[in-house]
């Protein structure tokens, strides 16, 4: 009897001690975090002995605070927030790229106006009200840059905050003249037919290809958990490859992890999930942010510790 007990105890210990490293991840349950859902469902984490404990949160800045405070190890955030954090002295580093936007057909963000609006070009937005989901972040920088490209200053427009789900109603009621929105709301609005696209690639001032969001951690955590960080990055890379090679299956997977219906998941424009991020994917955003005063000074993209490519 004792023999069996000891044997099973030894077996149990060897199983639990087999390279199981646990990381706590913060994310937002939207389509852009697709790599996370894929990696989890297809077992990419488990294959490397990573145990992932994921926490959905409602905003990138909340995730950043939780990572800074040590409650989470890895978080998902848009690149603008990471640049602003860097500017304010926070010490985050990018572990793995997230979603990209790329010309011509991988553009998620659009400027919409009401269908019968007299506004035909971005220059017509002078003196008008534009709705964005969060002031002081990536969408405001994009509007500032678009305005400058069209000979306007963003100060000649009135920017207001509207949550994404309410943007269409605000356009319809005439309370705003234009909104900067993203998928799936762009597709939803197109389906309802009451809006028109003013600018199909609202983030184009940041470059032909740009990194919208990334998975990040505190540099101090990175230095202490190099193996877990590398394992996480590899799992994300495999997930990106899977998504690009199997878009239909990836879209179907989306319906299980977000509130998207299958029909909607099949119609929306998916962002690009590239294997490797270049400096140029991020530098455009940093430079524009500095140009319009959202960060104090531009800095080289490398300071965000962009991961090197794996062969």
């Amino acid at each position: 009897m004792l023999k069996y007990f000891v044997a099973s105890l030894v077996l149990l210990c060897s199983i639990t001690s087999a390279r199981a490293e646990s990381i706590r991840i913060g994310y937002i349950p939207i389509a852009d975090c697709l790599q996370l859902y894929v990696a989890e469902e297809l077992g990419y984490f488990k294959a490397q002995g990573l145990v992932v404990d994921k926490t959905p949160l409602s905003g990138g800045s909340l995730i950043a605070m939780a990572v800074e405070g040590g409650e989470l190890d890895v978080g998902w955030s848009n690149t603008a927030s990471l640049a602003i954090a860097q500017d304010r002295g926070f010490d985050f580093a990018i572990l793995s790229p997230g979603a990209f936007e790329q010309d011509p057909d991988r553009r998620e963000h659009s400027l919409l106006v009401a269908k019968n609006s007299p506004i035909r070009t971005v220059a017509d937005l002078k003196g008008k009200t534009v709705g964005i989901n969060a002031l002081g972040n990536i969408n405001e920088i994009a509007v500032a840059a678009l305005a400058a490209q069209n000979g306007l200053s963003v100060k000649q427009m009135r920017l207001v905050e509207i949550p994404f789900p309410q943007m269409e109603a605000a356009l319809a009621s005439g309370h705003v003249d234009a909104v900067l929105t993203l998928e799936p709301f762009v597709t939803i609005a197109r389906g309802r037919g009451a809006t028109r696209v003013l600018e199909p690639a609202a983030l184009k001032p940041f470059g032909k290809r740009m990194l919208i969001a990334a998975w990040f951690a505190k540099r101090s955590w990175l230095d202490r958990h190099k193996a877990a960080a590398a394992a996480f990055a590899l799992a994300m890379r495999k997930a990106s490859a899977y998504i690009e090679k199997n878009p239909a299956q990836a879209r179907e997977l989306l319906t299980r992890h977000t509130k998207l219906s299958l029909a909607l998941a099949q119609q929306i424009t998916l962002p690009l999930f590239a294997q490797k991020v270049e400096d140029s994917d991020v530098q455009g955003l940093i430079d524009q942010a500095a140009r319009f005063g959202y960060i104090k000074k531009a800095f080289p993209a490398q300071r965000l510790n962009l991961p090197a490519a794996q062969p």
């Binding site: 800045s61 405070g69 602003i84 304010r88 002295g89 709705g131």
Partner: protein, 259 residues
Amino acid sequence: MRRGPDWQGLAFCLCVALAWEVAARQELLPPRLFPALTSVLAQLAEGTAAGTLPRALAKTLFCMGAGLLAAASMLPLGIWAGRSQRLWSTIGPTVEFLRSLPPALMALPAMLLLGIGDAPKIFAVFFAASFPILLSTMDGVRAIPPLFLDTARTMQVKPSAMLFEVILPAAAPGMFSGLKTALPMAFIVAMVSEMIGGADGIGHLLLRSQRSFDIPQMYAIILVVALTGGILAQGLNIVESSCLRWYSGWKSVCGRRCG
């Protein structure tokens, strides 16, 4: 009865401030999330000099004031409801039902109808402040000692004089009680509604500071909010004590023996 400066209170305040400074410098909490009091005060000075804090605060106080002014329309309704049991049986159930709706969240449906500007915020403040004012005024009127009303009736006082010289002063303690509840609620609701789809105001600035990782500014805003709330409450107390001079005198003489 003269009261000197509150030395004990001040000393306690300073101890708390000192504890904050020491705890922050010792990095008992992550330093970037818990800055030292000195850096927060520096940010406060900078924000005041640059005008961002005063402008934002002025905007919030404007919306709050407008909402409170609108809620003042509840004063006559409260007096009427206190005097007329029939009115209260009619509107009472609806009022009680509406009262349980969380006022700050009323800004969201208000945005759909009133647009994106000050209107939904003012509506949310009006909604929040109305109930304490209405109900406390009503209670104040109901609590008027019957002796006052009987005496006035015996003296055959005109209806207008009855209202302005008997009922209003007697109901004033109830009205002020309602105002003292409504004021901090109005301030809070004004700030919260700014966080739901706003573009300016101190509540919105707080949210925006958090999003831009401007942690010292976040704390500076919290200090400003606490100071402002304290000043407003004190101001109301002063107004109340001057309006209700008769009441404190009467209470100390009569107590429960009258009316």
